[in-house]
Symmetry: C2
Subunit: 152 residues, 2 copies
């Protein structure tokens, strides 16, 4: 089986030092501000990033305790497959977050919407270009869990 | 510097065997259908995925010829940083696509919106849960390039 070795392009500066501090579960809002500090050798790759309002950030769950293919998330009492959830216990420990870009100061990007721990390694940043219209979205077991919570 | 080794959880079956066949540039539509074939040892992780209409797929640009921090994309005459573009020549060769889930047959997911080459390794699949409202999106140099094309 092929494999690829990934190294950080930078690190997250976030207000969260413990997993328990990160808002999780149904209706969790991610409005916290933080910084991405990009390593100087990758600074040229930030050219023109300032014009985008939102970015995808791909990062590593570097403090996650290994993989669990089926698990029960904090927002439901039922187990779900890891590929149908945002669980940190993934076969490849990859995280994905959409953040609002607030500003850039050289190799530092100020962002809103961080949900990673302080010191989290960043693997990639991409511009967010388009959205799926809300009317087309179906949210599976999450929508069901929300409905159960509203009508207990 | 820390590093992480990633292995495929499955592979893409797509109609594209050559990079040139994948629609690129301004206004490119990705409506092609394809399959994701998940490796049997990860099948349990697909539990309940059927309820989601859209998925994020994280994959590897396994045929990309190395990194280029600043490059000129096919849709513009000006160079841009790799983190402000969808270029395949990234420090970590990670791709990200949003697909529509059309159906599941065991370890096979039928999807619409593939923009990867046939045989592309998949590293992770996550449910797509919410969108950035279009009114809040700014698309930087891409919007400028589109405007230049409309008013030559």
């Amino acid at each position: 089986m092929p494999s690829w070795t990934m190294q950080p392009i930078g690190f997250v500066h976030s207000p969260f030092s413990q997993t328990e501090q990160v808002p999780r579960g149904l209706g969790a809002k991610h409005e916290e501000e933080g910084w991405f500090e990009i390593l100087p050798e990758f600074a040229a790759g930030l050219e023109d990033i300032d014009g985008f309002s939102h970015l995808y950030v791909l990062w590593v769950f570097d403090r996650s305790p290994g993989c669990e293919l089926v698990g029960t998330p904090p927002c439901d009492m039922r187990p779900h497959g890891v590929f149908a959830s945002r669980s940190p216990r993934r076969p490849n420990p990859l995280g994905l977050t959409v953040v609002r870009l607030l500003g850039r100061d050289g190799i530092r990007l100020r962002v809103r919407g961080v949900d990673m721990l302080d010191g989290t390694p960043i693997l990639d940043i991409k511009p967010y270009l388009s959205s799926v219209p809300e009317a087309e979205l179906q949210r599976g077991w999450l929508a069901e869990a929300e409905a159960r919570r509203e009508k207990p």
